[in-house]
Amino acid sequence: MPDAKKRYAMVVDTRGCVACKACVLACKAENAVPDGRTRDWLVEEVRGRFPRLAAENRSERCNHCAGAPCVDACPTGASHVAEGGTVQVTRHKCTGCKACMAACPYDARYVHPDGFVDKCTFCLHRAQYGKLPACVEVCPTACLHFGDLSDPGAEVSRLLRERKWKVNHPETGARPNVYFLV
């Protein structure tokens, strides 16, 4: 069962990102995300006072946490750990109770108009054909990277070895799998 050893992760290079939101729109098109909802989003953080300023752009989404609070919170088993350690929602098991949304430290989930909770899947339906997630494929700055951290030769592994990185809200202990290069 080789897939069970995979550890899918996303690495976001904040230095390249221009916050253009192509990732958001490509995801919406690929996944037919309903109007008014998005599975990924941009954070443009600016610190300092004029004229001494610093900026960081982050394309954010579900962190597919290794210790996912949403999975623990789900009473029906709809939110579960799936291939590559990703966190997925089984639509027909979801009752739309929103316990997962309350538990998620990243506000990464929304209620689909059809009644279930929805979020980023890391485009697992594409990964099985060896295709990258839609957001990674479209990104004009090539600042999004996707791969298997259990493979030391993977680009994501190399980037985390060679570059300085951080994760959002490490204090929650959720062990997120979206990494930001700084």
């Binding site: 253009c20 192509a22 037919a32 004029f50 900026a55 752009n57 799936a82 089984t90 494929e137 090539a142």
Partner: protein, 734 residues
Amino acid sequence: MELTRRRFIRIGGAAAGAAAVGSGLATRWWGLDGDAVADPGTDGDRVVPTFCELCFWKCGVLAHVRDGRVTKLTGNPKHPLSRGRLCPRGTGGAGLLYDPDRLKRPMIRREKRGEAVFEEVGWAAALDYTAEKLMKIKEKYGPEAVALYSHGYGGSWFKHLLKAYGSDAIAAPSYAQCRGPREVGWQLTFGAGVGSPEQLDIENSRVLTLIGSHLGENMHNTQVQELAAALDRGAQLVVVDPRFSTAAGKARYWLPIKPGTDIALLLAWMHVIVRDGLHDRAYLDKYAIGLDKLAKHLTDKTPEWAWTETGIPAGTIVETARFIAGGRPASLVHPGRRVVWYGDDTQRTRAIAILNALLGSYARRGGIYVPSQMQLPTYPYAKYGHEPRVPPDSPKDRAYPLADETLASGLCMASIPGTAAYDIKGWLVYGTNLLMAMPQPEKVKEAIQALDFIAVVDVLPAEIAGWADVVLPESTYLERCDEVDNPPYKVPFAAVRQPVVEPMHDSKPGWWIAREIAHRIGLADYFPWKDSLEYAMHRVHSAGISCETMKSDGVVVGKAQPTTIEDGLEPTFATPSGRIELFSQRLADAGFDPMPGYTPPEEPPAGHFRLLFGRSPVHTFGRTTNNRFLGEVASENEVWVNADAAKEQGVAGGDKVVLVNQDGARSQPIRVKATERIRPDCVYMVHGFGHDAKGLKFARNRGADDARLVTRIKVDPIMGGTGMNVNFVRIERA
């Protein structure tokens, strides 16, 4: 039996499902869940390669079509301008195709111009009416009295139509209202324009300097790809901008310059570089003339002098000058894109060109490259039968001898009777919303009211359509085939636009509309082909390219040619001297400064801010702001106000305000973005919002339109560009 993975998971899933009753725990095991992620079903059953029209970069697109509907658009990996990636606009092209507000049927005006009261008619009636009006103008005033404004790739058919008809009065606001000055500044210096796509090897730059150019927010796909690639390789940015732009956020140096003083900074940088001998002497000896004159011109342009003008400390000017020179020859100073700012814009872009020359960056890797182009024989049309008069695009008492394209603003003014060499009486408007694209929209309306005839060919009912006598609804780029695209670029290539789906509603492709008009005004011989695909394939085939490959790949890439001295190119310069002209005798002969000088800008009146505007990565001016898909991430603009200045004005972030300019022109209500990211003497907004056209049901009344605040312009005396950053606004609570 072979146990495949899929089968194993199914079995495992069933077992886990049984165990999960009551606890849900077992399903947490990796790989044991039977419910794979559902395929959203957006992969096409057909994938059609074509190229984009959401902006004018023309990236290669793969259009996925499922059950006859475009589900998604992705970058064509084979196309050199997209390299498999797209910007947000290109990703959202289906939002244009399926825009419920599209122009659906031809319409003829029934009330006064501008009241937007129309009657839907059939194509035959609309085309007969257009033909009759065109023939009347030709009889009465001659064919040159008809002007074509065209912005977009489908415009080629109408350009051909107008030339066959007998007029050369063809213009786009993308010249005198946008990038014109830099083309002239570059030509005067290097003998070649900047071009689009800009001929800049950003990817290989070590130092990239941006003068008010907001790459990243100005989202030309390949250019931004190159910017990111350069940053990834350790390139450094120097960003000169009154606003902390996205690019400034990535810069080694951000210089928050006082608006309108860029030339002072450029001259001071050159002063330091020449004074300290940091320029590329061998390169200049070989390729340039006028260094001695330039050095003399620069003697008093000291960093201390520039400090008082620009607000940038002398020490910082010296440090950045050395930093920029330290990267040469892979040190590139970007010429910008919309550069009509203060009326001295040709001289500013010439200063940028001269600075690049000092760095030896022209025809160098990481600098400005010399493009190559796929050669495609033109279609064997009959020669145009009439030698037209020169377009009357300047006032009677003025000429802009160094302009190398026709001025849209000039043609517009020539429509107000008696102001130019002869009057323009009819307009064909293709794909450009002149009421937002041009400054002084009240004057544009005055010009339109004086016309005998105005026809609008467009996809959406933008403001300009409301002023038309006849509205001809064009199919979107996803429903039509246009001219082949073979721009000068790093590599020669040719790309084809192919219809992805059948035209919706009663829209027709531009080629069809132009040909039908031609047939009605005795110009059928100029449109001898069956359709545009036949035309395009004729050109492709006659270039020796396989039509099958072109259709299946959407693009054919030629053999790379040398583009820089490093590749073995020996550069030539189409200037009068055959060299790079640091000193321009052409400018001197035309009565202008042969080397750029500095004029201090006007100060804002008390309580006023200089109005600056720019772009969002999600939109192309006003032409995409009705796109509901793009609207999901950017549906209205904000006015950026310095946080302290906002406090002084008694407004806070999120408040709705009205901007009132020096002439009393008022904006629509717009939300305040109180931010540290801008100087306190100016405000900034993204252009393209604030539509008031009734037909744009999504974009209408969202945000504010800057064009109506541009009641004042400063015309560039060299090429007629309309400097628009010369307006001042005060902030009023809405």
